[in-house]
């Protein structure tokens, strides 16, 4: 297992706390974060991180469909390029896109067995050290808006309680993206999806600025943006916008 897909050593998963307790803690933490004007990307990144802690997986990512039905990565537990690429690849093929199209969970698929199903995705995922993949739908009243994607290093099946816990997290993600508001119609839903996806692009641009100025890799550049936002109780999106537009110098970010 490589270091960039390891669970955070200081996270709650590193001590032997029962999963139910972890899940309860996580749901409380997420509920606390669902305050007015919260940052959707920050919350979903937290959710992906917690997914790795609560459920026995190495990496987790949330993919959201654009109004055109194309899947894009919105948040992931690891910013390692290798992992992001695996998520991105699934815009074309892979468990996430299959789950999104069918609206059904895809669990416990061993990668080696499915090279014909996903000829491009499977070899790359195996190369990345993963052996099994799982995807759960993000659903809103019968409509699937995206999927929660999880990678595991071993081939063993996900236990049923883990699947239930992960689906609960996927459901929270759906609520977060829709920002409490009752989605009255398809138009508002599409606008919110578009907005969330564009926000993620803005964050990638800001990561690039920070990576260059502070000589960091993308993972650490993102961590720095997030840390500053949290320390100062600011929205990650606003920090990203300020950095990208050079309204705020990178040197003003907390180290």
């Amino acid at each position: 297992m490589r270091s960039d897909v390891q669970k955070g050593a200081s996270g709650p998963g590193s001590v032997d706390i029962p999963r139910e307790t972890l899940l309860a803690h996580t749901l409380v933490e997420l509920a606390d974060s669902l305050v007015a004007d919260f940052d959707v990307i920050d919350l979903l990144t937290l959710l992906a991180d917690r997914c790795v802690d609560v459920v026995d997986v190495a990496a987790a990512g949330l993919m959201l469909a654009s109004p055109d039905g194309e899947l894009r990565v919105l948040a992931s537990s690891s910013e390692a390029m290798r992992v992001l690429e695996l998520f991105e690849l699934q815009a074309d093929e892979g468990p996430c896109v299959d789950c999104y199209r069918s609206g059904e969970p895809i669990v416990n698929l061993k990668l080696a067995d499915h090279d014909t199903r996903w000829p491009r995705f499977s070899p790359r995922a195996i190369e990345g050290g993963f052996r099994s993949v799982h995807a759960l739908p993000m659903r809103l009243r019968g409509q699937t808006i995206g999927a929660l994607n999880m990678f595991r290093i071993d081939e063993g099946p996900m236990r049923e309680p883990d699947v239930v816990a992960a689906q609960a997290l996927a459901d929270v993600a759906t609520i977060a993206i829709l920002q409490h508001r009752a989605v009255r119609d398809a138009q508002i839903l599409n606008e919110q999806l578009t907005r969330a996806l564009n926000t993620r692009i803005a964050i990638e641009q800001a990561k690039g600025v920070v990576a260059e100025r502070a000589n960091l890799d993308m993972e650490h550049a993102f961590a720095r943006l997030r840390r500053h936002a949290r320390n100062h109780n600011l929205r990650l999106t606003d920090i990203a916008q300020a950095i990208s537009s050079k309204a705020m110098p990178v040197s003003a970010l907390d180290p």
């Binding site: 055109d68 398809a186 990638e204 641009q205």
Partner: protein
């Protein structure tokens, strides 16, 4: 089916053009895919020349002139608020807004008017201007088409700055390489290397890709891996 709207729009853009870029065609496709009376593209960011990129009719041109002159209207709001602004019945609006814009627009024959922001991440370029000569809301299909169209138009505007062609953009968008986050990470890095805006950095990345006949995602990958710099300090 995934990407269907996008492919339809891209097909319409390049159909019979041998890939040559024209903003007139871009505007015309904006109008036809959304089934509107008229369309235009307003540039409002300091990163690109301000002004109209194109309009399909005198009425669309009027809608833009009014907004540039008065500083109010659906496109101005869409750009400022960074979200679509919809007025399905300009003569009987649900909330009063744009006091100076509304009269002359109505006199020009505008009955419904819609503004969609043109943005690529933090890069905000302007707004897509759509109007109809009769009142009525956008259907869900028109609305979804307008969102996807705005996405493509924003990319196309940056591409025009890089001297590329719509044909190349279409190929890139169809290959999906354009959406790789690596392109946006690289744009951020190049903007810091050259001390230019992210919009200008995206243009430079594209121009480099065209100039060297390489996919933009590949060039971006080199930038992020620190194998390629744009400030000559290799």
């Amino acid at each position: 089916m995934s990407g269907e709207r996008r492919f339809r729009i891209l097909d319409a853009l390049v159909d019979g053009t041998n890939g040559e870029i024209t903003s007139v065609r871009l505007c015309d496709v904006c109008r036809t895919v959304t089934d509107m009376t008229g369309a235009g593209i307003m540039l409002m960011s300091g990163d690109l020349p301000l002004g109209s990129a194109c309009t399909t009719s005198d009425v669309s041109a009027l809608i833009e002139e009014l907004q540039y002159t008065l500083g109010e209207g659906p496109c101005v709001d869409a750009y400022r608020l960074d979200r679509p602004v919809l007025e399905p019945d300009l003569a009987h609006p649900s909330m009063p807004r744009w006091p100076a814009f509304t009269g002359p627009a109505l006199a020009g024959g505008v009955r419904a008017v819609f503004g969609f922001p043109l943005a690529v991440g933090a890069v905000r370029l302007g707004a897509l201007n759509l109007y109809a000569d009769r009142p009525g809301p956008l259907t869900d299909d028109q609305h979804a088409n307008a969102l996807v169209m705005a996405d493509i138009a924003a990319e196309a505007l940056l591409l025009m700055q890089a001297g590329g062609s719509l044909g190349e953009l279409a190929a890139e968008l169809e290959a999906g390489s354009n959406f790789g986050y690596v392109v946006h990470q690289a744009a951020g890095m190049v903007s810091a290397q050259l001390d230019v805006s992210v919009a200008q950095a995206l243009v430079r990345l594209r121009a480099h890709a065209f100039g060297n006949q390489r996919p933009i995602a590949e060039v971006a990958g080199d930038v992020v891996a620190r194998r390629l710099r744009f400030d000559g300090e290799n």
